[in-house]
């Protein structure tokens, strides 16, 4: 069972991102659950969401304390408290201009125990969506680093969730993020 924890701010689409990955997994024949951390999400306030991907329909519906993957959509949340519990050998996917190793070092997660995938999702989002909404761009880095779902499936899900010009812009953002994601051990 793969456990992913998403961190963002109210209004940035962390919950949507967690759902897109769950949808993609389900389309690819796996079982998956996506759920937000329930509470009064307020625009700007830190929020978290969870995705579990498994081969069995029996999936616990509990918060994820020891994730395999932590995804951080907002740079200001790149702090140890938000990455707490990441399993050794796990992957940090981050919206950050830094190199993966450099980011891990800054977060005190160096020493080769963790992997990181970084991409400047904010700039990509501004370029394609004219807004700092990074929840689709970051998926490019997620797919590239975890290979848990195929890129095309994610793109199909995005095309079904958004429509017309908005869908295409998001697709382009994901593709560019996929290409420019940097990946390495700490």
């Amino acid at each position: 069972m793969l456990e992913i924890r998403w961190h963002g701010r109210g209004g940035q689409g962390a919950v949507t991102a967690s759902e897109i990955i769950a949808s993609a997994s389900i389309i690819e024949g796996k079982y998956a659950l996506a759920f937000p951390e329930f509470g009064a999400e307020r625009r700007g306030a830190p929020v978290r969401a969870y995705t579990r991907i498994t081969d069995s329909p029996l999936i616990p519906r509990t918060p994820i304390e020891r994730p395999d993957v932590v995804v951080v959509l907002d740079r200001s949340l790149l702090k140890p408290t938000y990455i707490e519990g990441l399993k050794e050998g796990g992957t940090l996917v981050a919206n950050s201009p830094l190199k993966p190793a450099e980011l891990l070092e800054k977060l005190g997660l160096g020493g080769g125990k963790y992997r990181a995938a970084t991409v400047d999702a904010s700039s990509i989002a501004m370029k394609w969506l004219k807004a700092n909404i990074v929840n689709t761009a970051i998926l490019g880095a997620f797919v590239k680093s975890t290979e848990l779902v195929k890129l095309d499936t994610v793109l199909d899900v995005i095309r079904s969730r958004f429509h017309g010009k908005v869908a295409e812009a998001n697709v382009m953002a994901v593709k560019e993020a996929y290409e420019s994601t940097q990946l390495s051990w700490g």
Binding site: G10, G11, A40, R42, R43, G44, A45
Partner: protein
């Protein structure tokens, strides 16, 4: 009604406001939520001898996340639709406990309701009407963000014509909300209470003085202040624009500022040259879907409303749309 409201604060400039905060930092309202501004001013005007009755809603859940509370005055929340009845229970208790000598006769304890549009124009209307009809000494402050924002922007009876909400979305069949906004201030005024007013945080002196006047009449009966509360999350605009958009609501005649003091209607902020409503609409994502024809439809509604207001005022206090 033995309760004595006393002369409350009147301000000519912002500097007449006390510096002391009774609604303090550390709440969970969205970044750029104008309700924060409104609550700060309300508590400054009402002062420490005030009991707040807060209906369920954004302000309530964001400011009292156990174990934390932002309110330095006594604060009470019971449910969503009973702020009016709760306030009556409190106000009338203060009267009987004074009469029975349990609390000093001259003790100041003004009862002020704070509720959102859903809690006031929809689910709480019956309880509000009861309180007004009973003449209980309570000032009811409605912060109107024009939808159920606390639960995620579902439409309410206060949602304006053509506005997008999550339950009046735009699609092939629906073009956002298809009914016009419920005129709650006039419904309240029909209860013939001593003071009703509309207020806008973009006009501090006007808003603060209306809070003050609303408190002054409490020894004659209830008062009602309808405050427009521009909502960054629900109206889909940049958090920095809360006050600017609020100002445009009055400059375009969408939200005229008036008061009805013992039956006398008066526009408190005349607008000689009205801005076209498009100035107000274009900054808000909830109106992004509008076609020029739909904007014209809204302009027509605003013009009709302005005509009504001018008729009540007896003269043209809100002018035509400046070309």
């Amino acid at each position: 009604m033995a309760q004595q409201a006393g002369k409350s604060l009147r301000i000519k400039s912002l500097f007449d406001l006390p510096r002391e905060e009774l609604f303090i930092s550390g709440h969970g309202l969205c970044a750029g939520c104008t309700a924060g501004t409104i609550m700060r001013m309300l508590t400054k005007v009402a002062g420490k001898d005030t009991i707040i009755v807060n209906a369920t809603g954004c302000v309530e859940v964001a400011t009292t996340r156990y174990p934390y509370s932002n309110w330095l005055v006594p604060w009470f929340h019971s449910a969503f639709e009973n702020a009016g009845a709760s306030a009556s229970g409190i106000a009338r208790t203060i009267e009987v406990l004074k009469r029975k000598g349990v609390i000093p006769k001259d003790k100041q304890a003004k009862v002020v309701v704070v509720a959102g549009d859903g809690g006031t124009v929809d689910i709480g209307l019956q309880s509000l009407s009861g309180m007004l009809e009973r003449r209980d000494p309570v000032m009811y402050v409605l912060y109107d963000n024009e939808a159920y924002m606390n639960t995620g922007i579902q439409r309410s009876g206060a949602t304006p014509f053509h506005a997008w909400t999550t339950t009046t979305p735009t699609g092939k069949v629906w073009r956002g909300e298809w009914r016009t906004k419920k005129d709650i201030a006039m419904i309240v005024a029909a209860h013939r209470i001593p003071y009703v007013a509309t207020a806008n945080p973009a006009y501090p002196q006007d808003m603060v003085n209306k809070f003050a006047r609303g408190l002054e009449v409490l020894d004659e009966g209830p008062s009602f202040i309808h405050v427009l509360m521009a909502c960054t999350t629900g109206w889909r605009f940049d958090p920095a624009l809360g006050i600017t958009i609020s100002r445009l609501a009055t400059e375009t005649g969408v939200f005229p500022l008036y008061e009805i003091d013992h039956g006398n209607f008066r526009v408190t902020f005349p607008v000689a040259k009205r801005k076209p409503v498009s100035e107000y609409l274009k900054l808000q994502g909830r109106f992004a879907h509008l076609t020029p024809a739909e904007i014209e439809e809204i302009q027509k509604l605003v013009n009709e409303r302005v005509a009504e207001i001018n008729k009540l005022a007896g003269k043209e206090v809100i002018g035509p749309v400046a070309k």
